[in-house]
Each structure stands twice: as C-alpha cells, then as structure tokens.
C-alpha cells in the first residue's frame, strides 16, 4: 500500500516544468494530439467509462442478479462466466469497474484540491506557515493507509466515498510537496512581485497567479493520481480494508477469486485485466500530457 501511494512521489518529476500561460493551451493540445499512444489511451479510457456505466445499464443482468448458472465458464450467455452463487461475472466486473473508476477519479480530485491548496499556501507564505504545513505533510505521509481505512471502516461502513477520501487525503500530502516546490520557484518571479506591488491580496495572488501557473504539473499529477487511486483502491480492497461486501470492486473480486486461479480462472483474470487496462491507459495519457506540457522533451525530440 505504502508502496503504491508512494508512487505519487514519482510525480515529483513533473514538478520541474517551466511556467506556461493559458494562451498556450492550443499548443499543448496540439502537442498532446501528436502523441498517438496517449490519444489512443484517452479514447480507451473514455470507452472504459462508457462501457462501465452504459454497458452495465444495457447488459441483461444486474450485478445483484442471481442466475441459475453456478460457476459456469465463459459462454455467449455469460461472456465472463459466473461465480459460485450464479452472479453474472460480466455484470460484477462492470460494477467493480464503476466503483474503481469512481473512486479513482474522486481520489484525484480530492488529492489535487487539498494538495494544491496545501502546497500553494505553504509555498506562498513560506517561513512558519511553510514549515508547519510541510511537517504536517510529513505526519500524513507516515500514516499507514491500512490503519486509517480499518479505523474509519466502522464509521463509513466502507462506502466508496470513504475509501476515496482516505486515499485522497493521504495522497494529498505528496501532492502538496510537489505544488509547494513549483510555487516556491514561481514566488520569486517578476510577475508575482508586480501583482504584489499593485496591491493584490494574498488570496488573489494565489488564486489568480500561482495556481494557474502550476496548471501543467497539476494536470499531469492529477492524471497519475487516477492510476494511483485505482491501484491503491484495488490493493486495499484486496487486503480487505477497502470497498466492502456486499458491494463490489475490482480488488475485492480478485480477493474472492484468489483460490480460484486454477479452478475458475475467469473469475481471477477478468477483473485483473480491467485494472491493468485502466491504469495503463491513464499512465499513457499522463505521459502524453507530460510531453505536451514540457518543452524540453520536445526539444530533445527535434
């Protein structure tokens, strides 16, 4: 777990961007579109969302339906087979996919919002505030997700939002470090000095100047957080500290199928393939965005 939350640190790399202005949006989009793999991944990811929600709505079985077919291998009636009690495994995987995507997006949102506010405040005010907030980040980084999830399980009854909140808040500490770094370097630049000289309030400077200028790292970071969110959620659920039965998540499905690798392999492989698909497409999107935002990479390319 720690390991996977730790991945956020790797996002540190993206912190080393130079400042961009909004007018460059077009350039960035063009650059992104040039990255074919990233575009394909974006399409895949959107398709996955459509399949998860639309597919589940259209599919003849709901994830709670109990069919008369127990432990059937994949067939036309049940493309992903069925489990022991007769749940259609496709319906279950789609439900798991919904939950996992929902949690992952929420993780990215929570971690980005909290982490940005946190890091920007620390970086902008510096000194005492910075020190205090960064030590707070140290505190949060040490907190074990498993213990927090177990402690809050009784409160939130393991709802998807509780899980997203826990992963999101814990991940936000790492995000705050990244954003703080970016803001620290921005703070000393002329246009901030100018804004200050013009009498802009601290809040205004943070909201109007600092945050927009950290957009690059922010977006890339948020993308990677989606992948981190997926992997963290499935890992937590696999260990029994995440989404709880009778609800479904991809990690939980794999947990339940751990003993079935040989006997009912469809139960084990199908949720796993979907986790990989999501995380893979997200990572490629992140890669494309990184290239799009980072002019140095482009230079190397030419």
């Amino acid at each position: 777990m720690t390991k996977q939350l730790e991945t956020v640190n790797k996002a540190d790399t993206v912190a080393e961007f130079t400042v961009k202005e909004r007018s460059q949006l077009r350039i960035i989009v063009t650059r992104f579109l040039r990255h074919r793999l990233a575009v394909a991944s974006l399409i895949t990811f959107l398709l996955l969302i459509v399949v998860a929600y639309g597919g589940a709505a259209l599919w003849k079985y709901a994830y709670t339906d109990i069919t008369p077919d127990n432990s059937q291998p994949p067939s036309l009636a049940h493309p992903f087979g069925t489990d022991g009690i007769g749940h259609d495994n496709l319906a279950q995987v789609l439900r798991g996919l919904q939950q996992s995507i929902k949690i992952a997006l929420m993780v990215a949102l929570i971690a980005t919002v909290i982490g940005t506010t946190w890091g920007a405040t620390a970086g902008y005010f510096g000194r005492r505030v910075d020190n205090l907030l960064m030590r707070l980040a140290d505190v949060v980084i040490i907190l074990p997700a498993i213990a927090v999830a177990a402690a809050l399980a009784s409160v939130g009854q393991g709802s998807w939002f509780t899980i997203a909140l826990i992963i999101g808040v814990l991940a936000s500490a790492s995000v705050s470090r990244v954003i703080r770094g970016v803001v620290l370097s921005l703070r000393e630049q002329d246009f901030i000095e100018a804004a200050r000289a013009l009498g802009a309030s601290d809040f205004r400077i943070i909201a109007r100047h600092l945050v927009p200028n950290t957009m690059g790292p922010l977006i890339v970071n948020a993308t990677i957080l989606v992948a981190v969110g997926i992997l963290a959620e499935t890992a937590l659920s696999f260990l029994g500290f995440g989404v709880r039965e009778p609800d479904v998540s991809l990690g939980l499905l794999i947990n339940q199928a751990e003993g079935a690798v040989r006997t009912r392999p469809w139960l084990f492989y199908s949720p796993g393939v979907f986790i990989i698909l999501i995380a893979l497409s997200i990572n490629f999107i992140g890669d494309g965005l990184r290239d799009a935002f980072d002019p140095r990479q482009t230079r190397v390319r030419q």
């Binding site: 109990i66 022991g84 009854q157 039965e245 009778p246 339940q256 003993g259």
Partner: protein
C-alpha cells in the same frame, strides 16, 4: 471447549454432555444417502470412523501439518490460549483425561488413565485412577497435584488473577483430593454436572508450575513459555514464531511410543495458500474450512487422500425478537417458510458437497443418536411461498405494491441482515435469503460485521447468519444457548416452559436418553416459534498425502490430531 474464531469462522461452542462411562459409540450416520465424499484411503471413514486409513506402519518419517494460526499462548486453559489451533498444536504434549473420537464418542485416554468412574450420585463424585507408569518427561509422576492445580486455577475462587478461559464445571466442584500416593483423584461436585467429561482435558504439570510463583503467576508463566515439559507422546523440539512448531518423540512416554521421527506444524494463516503449498509438497496434510475451489483442487492432487464429511458446526438464520415487527410470530414463520433451504444448499455448499441436507435440530447432529429433525415437518425452510403468503394473510397482513403491510397498517421496514466480513458462504446465503423474502414484500439490507460477538451481544441486527459448533458433550450446552436469560440467546427468545425442560436436562446425570429427550422437547417448542432456522451442517475437510496412515478425519473439535501419537508412515506395498 475450544472455539474457532477465524475471521471467516464460526463462533465455537463448547458444550458438554454426560455420557456414562460404558460408552456405546454413537455410530456414524448410517443411511446410505448420508455417506460423505472421499477418496480411496478414506473410503471407509463413513462406516468405520475410528479406524479408517490404517495400514502397516514403517518406523520413522516426518509429517508437516498446516496449522491455521501461530501459537500465541501455550496455556490452552487460559483465555489467551483458548484457541482451537493452539490446542491442536499441543495435543501430543499436554495430556487429557478424555478424548473425542471421530465417531463422536468420548473416550478415556487409556495411556494415562486406568479408570474414570462416577462413584456416587449424591453428591456427584467422580474417581480418577491414574496409571502408575504415567509420568511427565522429567520423571515426576502425573498425579492428583496436577488435577488440583487445574481445579484451583479454573474455579474462580482460589486464584483471583488466573485468566481462566472457562470456569464452568470447576465452579461446581466442592473438592478435588488425592490418595494412593497421588494416583487416585476424587472429585466431589456440589451439584450435578452432566458435562463433567470436559474437565481435566488437558492438565498441566503442577510441579513445574510450583517453581514459578503463585497460582496466578504460574498460570501466566505457562501461557508465555514454550513447554519443555510433556506428558504426551511428543515433546516440543523447536518453536519458531510465525513459522513452525516441531515435535519429536518423548522418550519418557509411558504409553505406545510414536513411530514418526518428527511432526511439524507449519503455520499457514491463509487458506488460499494451502493448495499451492500442498501441490508443491511444502506441507503433507491440512484441514481447512472448505471452499469450492479448495475442494476442487484438492481432488486433483494425485498423491493425496481427501475426505469431505460433516462436522459439528451448523449455520443458521436468527431473528432478533427485540425488533417490534419480528416480535410477531406469524411474520417470522412466514419468512422462514419462504426460505428454500434446498435452494440455498444447491447454490452454496451443495456445489462441492452434494450430499448436504437441510439440518433440523438445534442441539444434535445426525451423527448422534439423539438427533431428530424438528424443523422440516413444520414447513420452515421449505420455500413454500403459497403457504408463507397464507400464513401472512391469515394473520391479517397484506402485500401491496411489493410491500408488506401489517394488520395495523404499518409497512414492514427494511430489515438489516448481518454476516461476518469475508465469509463468502454467509454472504451468498444472505443474498439468497433477501431474494426469497422479497417475494413476501420484505426488503433486506445486507450489512457485514467485523465484530460478530459485539454485534450479536448488542443485538445490532434484525436477521443474522452465523454458526454454532456443537461438542460431543451436549447437555449443558442446550441450556447455555437457548435458556431465556442466557447471554448466548442473542435474539432474546423467551419461553418459561422450555427453560424448565432445559434446567431439568442439565440436572440429569447418568441418564442420557432422558436428558436428550428433555432437550428435544424444549427444541420443539422453540422450532414452533420460528426463532432460529438451522440451514446445514458445515463440512470437515482433510487432505493428507498418501504415504501417511492412521491420520483420519474427526468431526469434533479435537480434530484430526486427536491421535497424533499414532500417526505413521505407510509401509509401501511391494
């Protein structure tokens, strides 16, 4: 006396029964259709449970048996040590007066005891005669002192700081005295205690305890220290925490010497790891709670015998009568009638244990003579929807727009059904329960619990699924579970008539037939009230490499290790 408390497990129940010493083995289930499933080595375990899988033994050999938990305490009489796995690990080391055999008979440990007899009825007196040869491995005789130590540490009076797991029986003992140089022990009871055979199993060496301070201190010392002492066929050679416990023969053993060189309990805490480890020959035997995948894969292991039979635990749906809606018998009866137990079995355990039948008694299992199916004749668990609806309409209920309306015009609210986190079988059973009572217009919300005991005792449920584990000693247990004021009567069913019958049974020593009859009468009252619906017996599952003999399934909580001292390596047929 020991409980399982695995996360996925069952609440164990240690209940007792008085069976006179002239024990007739309650033979296995008998009926052809009841036969458990097995492979060839265990083929006759259904008909010959106490002697199946035996063959010519070759001296020597080692066996690695998977143990589901690391041993966290060595005194199985203390609250910390009162765990099924710990007592299994110590079966060959700390001796017992009585042993539960696979046919569910309770037999005296003849290696250690010469005789055990009830010598007086008023007051109830039991005389234990210990064999002259019986000694601890340091040469000290096993004696009355050890019995007295067991009594004093567990009677709640003599030792205020002993954390005894269970004081029942010992609190009813007026005195325990030794005579004949300590080889005869006389135990006098203040009141009849039909389940007396649970006492002194096991006993710990008093002379070693005496070297470690007061009763309380030594009781704790026994908890914390790996035994170097032994009064059984094996002694502990090595204990590696979270890893393995290695036993070697006790060269001072006074009974039949074991033939194996080593018995290793390999600690494997995750059942899903058992099959790979077995296939990879990292373990030679294991006995987990079965799942469809475990069973299917065990059958494919070519060099192993497997046995799938019924054990003493049984799953059941419980109502909480404190819920004002569920306080109405008609509603309960209709819901239980709408439950199709056969369908639940087919969807769950039936897939790997096709012999499973709906279970019909709250105190006895079909392997016991006293078993009678009280439930099926009432129509509960039949899935007869028409009958269920009729019960409701007769009582003035109405089903409107998928909702159930009480005679008073209230809508029956969504009921909360709880089960233990991670227990797939119970989760599935809950979903099936919900889909079945939906036909009556009743909505069920399924909520898991991490704290089964807390949830039960606080009554934080409307419907609950869990399991009780019976013991071959079965008279006091009925009272413990079902008496109106018992703490284990979680759904709060109150019936003074039944209480009287149970009390009388608990006073009956030496007349099993009568006691069983009283318990069955009380049970009929409870069944008629639709309080707890028994579903099915759980399975015992044992997988053993074919090169071992004398290791066999045992449905009681003494488990396959009950005869660990006689396990052996099979002489290969030439």
């Amino acid at each position: 006396m020991h409980m399982h408390l695995r996360r996925r497990g069952v609440i164990g129940l240690a209940v007792l029964t008085s069976i006179t010493l002239a024990l007739t083995a309650c033979a296995g289930s008998g009926g052809k259709d009841e036969g458990p499933e097995s492979s060839i080595g265990f083929a006759d375990c259904g008909t010959n449970p106490n002697a199946c899988n035996n063959g010519k033994i070759k001296q020597g050999g080692t066996i690695t048996y998977a143990l589901g938990k690391d041993v966290k305490a060595w005194n199985t009489l203390s609250s910390a040590g009162n765990t099924l796995e710990y007592s299994h690990a110590l079966f060959g080391v700390v001796p017992r007066v009585h042993v539960y055999y696979p046919d569910l008979s309770v037999q005296v440990n003849k290696d250690m005891m010469e005789s055990v007899e009830i010598t007086a009825k008023e007051p109830m007196t039991v005389t234990y005669k210990i064999r002259k040869e019986a000694v601890w491995n340091d040469g000290t005789p096993i004696s009355a002192d050890d019995f007295i130590y067991a009594w004093k540490t567990q009677n709640g009076k003599d030792c205020k700081d002993c954390k005894a797991a269970n004081t029942s029986g010992f609190t009813q003992l007026a005195s325990v005295t030794g005579s004949d140089g300590g080889k005869t022990v006389t135990a006098v009871f203040t009141q009849a205690f039909p389940d007396w055979q649970q006492l002194f199993s096991p006993i710990y060496p008093a002379h070693i305890a005496a070297q470690h301070g007061t009763l309380g201190e030594s009781f704790l010392w026994l908890e914390q220290n790996v035994p170097t002492y032994t009064g059984g066929p094996y002694k502990i050679e090595k204990y590696e925490p979270n890893f393995a416990l290695t036993l070697v023969p006790n060269e001072k053993y006074y009974g039949t010497k074991p033939t194996m060189q080593k018995v290793i309990y390999r600690i494997i805490t995750k059942d899903s790891e058992l099959i790979p480890a077995m296939r990879n020959r990292e373990i030679n035997a294991f006995s987990p709670i079965p799942t469809p995948d475990l069973v299917a894969q065990a059958k494919q292991i070519e060099d192993a015998h497997w046995y799938l039979g019924k054990n003493l635990s049984w799953e059941h749906f419980d109502f909480n009568l404190k819920n004002p809606f569920l306080a109405d018998k008609a509603l309960r009866l209709a819901m239980f009638t709408a439950i199709d137990r056969k369908a639940i079995i087919d969807k769950t355990v039936g897939q790997y244990a096709p012999e499973t039948k709906p279970f019909g008694n709250h105190n006895f299992v079909p392997q016991m003579k006293a078993y009678k199916d009280h439930v099926t004749p009432t129509g509960q668990g039949s899935g007869d929807l028409e009958k269920a609806k009729k019960i409701l309409t007769d009582a003035g209920y109405k089903i409107e727009g998928g909702k159930l309306i009480t005679p008073k015009g209230e809508t029956v609210p969504t009921l909360r059904m709880r089960y233990t986190t991670g227990n797939q079988l119970r989760k599935d059973s809950c979903e099936l329960f919900a889909s079945m009572v939906k036909n009556l217009g009743i909505q069920i919300e399924i909520v898991q619990t991490d704290n089964l005991g807390g949830t039960l005792s606080s009554g934080d449920f409307d419907v609950m699924i869990f399991a009780w584990v019976n013991s071959p000693l079965r008279i006091g247990g009925a009272k413990q579970l079902w008496r109106s004021d018992s703490s284990s009567n979680y759904g709060k069913w109150v019936n003074t008539e039944s209480d009287k019958l149970l009390d009388e049974a608990a006073r009956t020593v030496g007349d099993d037939a009568k006691a069983f009859d009283l318990i069955n009468k009380a049970n009929e009252l409870m069944v008629a009230d639709a309080y707890v619906l028994p579903l099915f017996q759980r399975e015992m599952f044992l997988v053993v490499n074919k090169q071992y003999t004398n290791i066999r399934p045992n449905p009681s909580n003494h488990g396959p290790v009950y005869n660990v001292g006689t396990w052996g390596l099979l002489e290969a047929a030439n």
